[in-house]
Amino acid sequence: MSVDLDQTPRSILVWERSSFLDEKNRINSEVEQLHFNYKVSVLLPECSSTPPHLESVLTSFSRFYLVRNLPLHKLLDKEFLETAVYQGSVYGLSYRTRIDEDNCVALMPNGRLVLSLDKDSFQVLGFEGKPSTFGNRTKNRFVVTIDLTDSSMAPGGRGYLRLLTGLTSRLSLQMDFLLSHHPGGGASLQPLLSHCDWSEHTPEISTQSLTHLSCPEPQSCDPHSFLEWLGAVHTDVSSLSENSSSNFLSSLVCPEPKTTLSQALRVSICGLLLPQDVHHLVQELRCYLERSRLECWTSLTVHGFVDSPVSWGDREHGVLRGGENFYTLLMFHDHTYHIHLATGAHDTCPP
């Protein structure tokens, strides 16, 4: 029997072109539906230092909290549900758990609690769920989705008691948990934090300025080549500046037609980042483009958490070789934009 060595796991890249001025543009839903963002990177061509407005937007990104050894049943605490889940949006994600081997949990802003469990844990928990879409025939992973805002999940209700018993007496899951709340911040999470060991974190900002950068024509460059170039810029690949395809080490060159940027600025921010803050950043970048000269463009890349049980909206997400779920928004001076949404093998098509 011969095995085809040329095959690679499925990957999807969605490329979309539209304008911010088009009423039907879907950019807001695409930004807001990716709930668990790990890193945002911005590239500003022909810019030498962070514009003050942009700096203030970046520093205003919401803080997030790391709760250590959180017993999961605490998420069902009545006071926590009333102050955080029913009011505003909670973003919660298990930390340092790997979705291809561990149990992973996400608390989504719409009040849904998603548990991605291995088979043993799922059977011990005894709560309704369904096999993971990506398990093929093996059925070793199960996804339990619970709407905490549903009437049956109100404290004291049948579903609530069943889940609470499951999480306290049968499957007492404990994990490190990242939490954030919009718009309440830490105050809304107090009922939970006051019972746990927690620390507060500010998203980490880093800035690098680049010089003499070969740059393709972003309007016409093919999506894969553009993403490769942008990836090379963000990873600091040096052969991009040498631009020689006969180099022994690397034949990577900037796609043609190309220009040379005398300078560019690369800014990135890391942590548990809220879609609302990303949205705010997009608006600020649009203002920056309006203020700057013609033919200017800027790119914004948002990486989702690799081990989140969901990617866009409620879509199930997993890890096969890599759990990539990210999008790159390329904005132009004339309010048009290109967005590239990418997912790996264990993910559905982006919205």
């Binding site: 990957s11 890249l13 072109r17 088009d22 690397s250 990577l252």
Partner: protein, 129 residues
């Protein structure tokens, strides 16, 4: 496989869905050596990987084009680019490379993706302590 999905809602709107269309795959790998103090340059690393390809797949394997995009000598971590059809060959030869100049070694494959950008934002690297 390349499919053009839909739909001109308005003149300016266009949506294209590309499935498995990535021409390259990217790997982030780290070489672990028994003797941590051994120095290895980028050229030596690439030559070493080519040797591995040749051992496992012969001359055909040695002719496989791959690029060493970036290399950090201190951590011996490298970013490799290989055409998607060659990924399995490259990966398997990395796995089977067990000796570098008579000392035990191993390649740790840290991340693999059809998008180089994905290698710049891996949430498993988030350190909060």
């Amino acid at each position: 496989m390349r499919g053009d999905d839909k739909k001109d809602k308005s003149a300016g709107y266009q949506r294209v869905v590309l499935k498995n269309a990535s021409p390259y795959h990217y790997m982030k790998v780290c070489l672990v050596l028994e003797d941590e103090s051994t120095k290895l340059s980028a050229v030596e690393l690439k030559q070493f990987i080519i040797t591995g390809l040749k051992t496992l797949y012969g001359e055909v394997g040695a002719a496989l084009n791959f690029d060493l995009l970036k290399y950090d000598e201190d951590t011996r971590t490298a970013f490799l680019r290989v055409c998607s059809r060659g990924l399995v060959k490259l990966w398997s030869s990395l796995t089977l490379l067990g000796f570098y100049q008579n000392q035990a070694c191993a390649f740790r494959v840290l991340q693999v993706s059809p998008f180089l950008l994905a290698l710049t934002g891996n949430s498993r690297e988030l350190q909060l302590d």
